[in-house]
Structures are given as structure tokens and as C-alpha cells.
């Protein structure tokens, strides 16, 4: 009986917590961070403010948790291909596509706008949030790229910079415009040629078979 009660209590707590996170997210997206009050969130979540503060000590912490939950959904899962460069291109395309899908599904992108809107009012919050999100992305990407260097598929190189190039090309192609439009739909890329162009450009520079840069340096002379 005791155990059953305990389970019930935990279930109620979990439900309330989830309701708070849902309500807070909707409020932040609609009114921004500064203009959202904890009482409004409690009201929408159908809990008392006391309960709300028991779960989250401050609005900052609540916001950070929402961002953290969303950004943890981003995964760059990659399995080492057997064989040649063509299969490396294919597997990287697949991994990048799946990574982009996991990002879009996390609905972190609309929150990015909320964070940018706070730059004048809560600069520290904006800075920290961006740092946290990119830290997670870069961690995922660099781990994969270092793996490919260690198995001899990529040249040894500065993988922090190349991860930035890879992430940057994907963001520019699929996400940049959505900063400006709430109703923006990321290009479908059904035939995959946009993602392929990104991966081919990347491998053409960093794959172990890529020509050394001397091939292009002459253009400068």
C-alpha cells in the first residue's frame, strides 16, 4: 500500500513537472523570456506558484531546463562505414540528415529566436544559452570527426574548425531563414543533393584521399 502511494505521488509530480515545462515553453515562445511571469506559467500549468517554485527555483533555471531538454535531443549518431570513400560519403550524409531531423524535432529553433530577443535585456542568459547549445553540437560532431581521423578515413586536422564548417553549412542551408519566419519550413531536400553537396565539399578537403591544398594555393599567386 505504501509503495503504491509512493508510485502514485511520483506519477503526480512527474505529470506536474511536464505540465509546467509545456506551459513555460509556450509562454516563452509567445511573450519572450522577460515578459513571462512565473504566475502566468503556474496558471497555465494548473499548479500553484508554490508547486512551481518547488520544481524550479527561478525563471532562469526553468528556461535553462527547457533549452537543455531540447538540445539534448540533438544526436549525431554515426556508424563507421566499411570500405571506400563512396560509402563514407553516404554514411556521413545519412548521419547529417538524421542529426538535422533530430534538431528540427527538438523544436529548439524557435527558442533560438527567444534567446536572441533577450540580448538587450538578459545578455548573460543569451550568452550562456548559446554557449551551452553549441557546446553540445560541437561535442557530438568533433567526437565523430576524431573517430574518422583515428581510423584513417580523414586527414589529421583541426577538427574543431572543420566541425564548425560542417555545422555552419548545414545551418546556413537548412536553418538560417527560419530565424526570420515563424512559419518557415526547412527545405525538404528530397533528392538529398543539398546535404550531399555539403558532405562532398567537406570530404574533398578533409578526407584522407583529398588533394593537398597546394592545388589551390596557386590561385593566390
Amino acid at each position: 500500500m505504501e509503495a503504491k502511494l509512493e508510485t502514485y505521488r511520483n506519477a503526480v509530480i512527474r505529470t506536474k513537472r511536464a505540465a509546467i515545462l509545456r506551459a513555460a515553453r509556450a509562454q516563452f515562445l509567445r511573450n519572450g523570456f522577460s515578459h513571462t511571469g512565473m504566475t502566468d506559467i503556474a496558471y497555465d500549468a494548473d499548479v500553484s506558484t508554490a508547486t512551481l517554485y518547488k520544481h524550479f527555483r527561478s525563471k532562469d533555471i526553468l528556461f535553462a531546463e527547457i533549452v537543455e531538454d531540447a538540445s539534448n535531443m540533438f544526436k549525431f549518431a554515426f556508424s563507421q562505414p566499411e570500405g571506400d570513400e563512396a560509402s563514407l560519403t553516404d554514411s556521413l550524409c545519412e548521419a547529417a540528415k538524421a542529426g538535422l531531423q533530430s534538431y528540427l524535432a527538438s523544436e529548439l529553433q524557435p527558442l533560438m529566436r527567444v534567446v536572441i530577443a533577450e540580448v538587450p535585456f538578459a545578455p548573460e542568459l543569451a550568452r550562456i544559452t548559446y554557449a551551452r547549445i553549441t557546446h553540445h553540437w560541437y561535442g557530438e560532431a568533433i567526437r565523430t570527426l576524431n573517430g574518422l581521423v583515428s581510423t584513417g578515413m580523414l586527414k589529421p586536422h583541426d577538427t574543431k574548425r572543420s566541425a564548425g564548417f560542417l555545422i555552419g553549412m548545414i545551418k546556413e542551408t537548412f536553418l538560417w531563414e527560419s530565424l526570420f519566419r515563424a512559419d518557415y519550413v526547412s527545405p525538404a531536400d528530397e533528392d538529398g543533393r543539398r546535404m550531399r553537396a555539403i558532405i562532398e565539399l567537406f570530404l574533398n578537403r578533409y578526407s584522407v584521399n583529398a588533394p593537398e591544398l597546394t592545388n589551390v594555393v596557386y590561385l593566390h599567386n
Binding site: 519572450g32 540580448v119 548559446y130 546556413e172 542551408t173 530565424l179 519566419r181
Partner: protein, 204 residues
């Protein structure tokens, strides 16, 4: 000076003062929080005068955006006969970054992104005035370099996203989230490496 001409000069200088105060105010407070009365006071005109020049805050904002953007995107002349593709692209990247950091474009992007929920059109129009115009200009430039056989034929719409994406990730995105960000000291290295990565694939 005739009276008519004197009046015109006064009117023009008031208009310029309003635009400059409006620009200051929008960049500092964003669109929603900028108040027309404050802008008029800063410009040292009455609100009636302000409304004679601009029918609404929206119109004033649209013209401020247009003014900020009008200088951008035309920095590079298509007539250049240089064959140094690497340098051509480097100069383009520099003109772009200078617009972003020295001429208020980063701040402008931040404020219109902040307005997406409340004033969606401001963001869409700014995106058109800034990003789409630049994209079109860059596309003409790359297509011209292909015609001149300095680049391999390729889909330049896709190519632009690749080249700008590599540069923007490190040099622009952080500035959207932090008003105090400056260009890093190794910005030129990053630009060159991005260009070389692009040229390794697309140089003729």
C-alpha cells in the same frame, strides 16, 4: 537663398535627424519598445512633425532598415577583371563582415528576429532587404566567375550556402547572441580556410 529653398533645407535636415534618432532608438530598444515620442524628442522635433514625415512607426522602421541595407551588397564590382578568385572572395567576405559589425547589421538582425512573434513582416522584409539581396549579388558574382572560367560550373545557389555557412558559423552566429562580440583575431585565417575549402572543390 529663396524662402522655398530654405524651407526645403530645414525639412530635409529634420527628416535626417528623425531617421538618425530612429535608427539609434530601434537599435537600442528594438521595434516594439521604441517610442515615437522619444524619437521625436531625440531628433528635436515635435511628434506632429515626425508624423508629417513618416506616417507610422512601421514606416519609419522600414525606411531605417532600407537605409542601413542600401549600402550593402554592392561593395564589389562585377566589372573587376582580377583573376585572383581567392582574393575576390576574400574581399567579398570582408565587405560583408564590415557591414555586419561596423554598420549595424548584426544589431539590426537581432532586433528583427526579436520581433518575429509580434511584427513578423519587419523580420521578413529585413531578411529580403539584407540576406536575399546579398544572396542575389553573390550569385551574380559567382556565376560571372564561372563564365570567366575561373570556377567550375556548379549550382551556385547551393554553393553560396556552403561558402557563407562556413564563414557565418564562427563569425556571425555568436554575434547574434551577444552584442559585445567582436571579430576574433584569427578571422582572416577562418575566411581563407573557408574559401580554400570551397575552391578545393569548385576552382576551375
Amino acid at each position: 537663398m529663396g524662402l522655398e529653398q530654405y524651407r526645403r533645407t530645414v525639412s530635409e535636415s529634420k527628416r535626417a535627424a528623425i531617421l538618425s534618432a530612429g535608427r539609434e532608438s530601434f537599435l537600442r530598444h528594438g521595434f516594439s519598445r521604441a517610442a515615437v515620442a522619444d524619437i521625436a524628442r531625440e531628433a528635436d522635433v515635435s511628434t506632429a512633425t515626425l508624423y508629417k514625415h513618416f506616417s507610422s512607426k512601421e514606416e519609419l522602421f522600414a525606411i531605417v532598415v532600407r537605409d542601413i541595407c542600401s549600402g550593402f551588397g554592392n561593395e564589389f564590382s562585377l566589372a573587376s577583371d582580377s583573376t585572383d578568385v581567392r582574393q575576390i572572395l576574400f574581399d567579398l567576405a570582408h565587405a560583408y563582415l564590415s557591414a555586419q559589425f561596423d554598420h549595424g547589421a548584426n544589431a539590426l538582425l537581432r532586433i528583427v528576429i526579436a520581433e518575429v512573434p509580434k511584427t513578423p513582416n519587419a523580420a521578413i522584409e529585413t531578411h529580403a532587404a539584407l540576406s536575399e539581396r546579398r544572396h542575389a549579388h553573390l550569385k551574380r558574382t559567382l556565376d560571372r566567375l564561372i563564365e570567366r572560367k575561373l570556377l567550375k560550373p556548379h549550382n551556385t545557389d547551393i554553393g553560396i550556402d556552403l561558402l557563407s555557412g562556413m564563414i557565418k558559423e564562427t563569425l556571425i552566429w555568436p554575434a547574434l547572441f551577444d552584442a559585445d562580440v567582436e571579430l576574433p583575431t584569427d578571422a582572416d585565417d577562418i575566411i581563407y580556410e573557408a574559401i580554400d575549402t570551397y575552391l578545393a572543390r569548385y576552382a576551375a
